[in-house]
């Protein structure tokens, strides 16, 4: 089906804003009802919008699936590494070892901020990969 000019233009102009909103949800995760998982899904939905309006190949040029696979695996490794850092410095797995800021500001959660970013990138990469495979498959 040929896509019309309107959908093409609007999704083109909306795509960076949706990615930025996903990053906002991730980075304000300890202050607002967002968080790593929800922000990652919003990031993925931005890429789905481009997939639907301009085809999978155009989205794959921006985010190559080979690199996405590497990002997803490395983010999980990084998550484990941060947990092990808490184990080494303090007592428990995933213990906070960064200074706490003032309540209500952005840098107030210690390393929850970095943990949220790691989880968000991992979830986003995973859902984008699932959608690429399903959209490219031939079907029956």
């Amino acid at each position: 089906m040929k896509e019309s000019e309107i959908v093409d233009m609007i999704s083109r102009k909306l795509f960076p804003y949706i990615l930025l909103f996903g990053l906002y949800l991730i980075s304000y995760g300890h202050l607002s009802p967002g968080g790593g998982f929800q922000g990652g899904v919003v990031l993925a939905s931005g890429v789905i919008l481009i997939c639907l309006s301009r085809g999978v190949s155009s989205a794959e040029r921006v985010f190559p699936s080979r690199k996405l696979r590497i990002v997803e695996a490395e983010m999980f490794f990084l998550f484990l590494l941060m947990g092990a850092g808490g184990l080494l410095i303090g007592k428990y797995f995933l213990e906070n070892f960064l200074p706490l800021g003032e309540a209500g500001e952005v840098p107030s959660g210690g390393f929850i901020f970095f943990l949220n970013i790691v989880i968000g990138l991992k979830v986003g990469a995973g859902i984008i990969l699932i959608c690429f495979y399903i959209l490219k498959s031939k079907g029956e």
Partner: protein
């Protein structure tokens, strides 16, 4: 307020099982997850509402629709 939403949830849950055409069932499921998201939101649980809205109404609907378009359209 919550009673109205719960009654509507039951109605749409049964309707999505009743339809023979799978696309209509998917549309009913989208409204079902929208209503449950509104219920969580009204009961002061906005993070659950965001997760429900993002997964149930967005990504799950897209995946269902794409898979239906690649297989048969009617339920036997």
């Amino acid at each position: 307020m919550t009673e109205v939403i719960l009654i509507l949830l039951v109605i749409f849950g049964t309707l999505s099982l009743q339809f023979k055409k799978l696309l209509n069932a998917v549309i009913c499921l989208a409204i079902f997850s929208l209503l449950s998201s509104l219920l969580f939101y009204y009961l002061h649980a906005p993070d659950v509402a965001i997760a429900e809205a993002a997964v149930g109404a967005g990504v799950a609907t897209v995946l269902f629709v794409v898979i239906i378009s690649k297989t048969r359209k009617e339920e036997k």
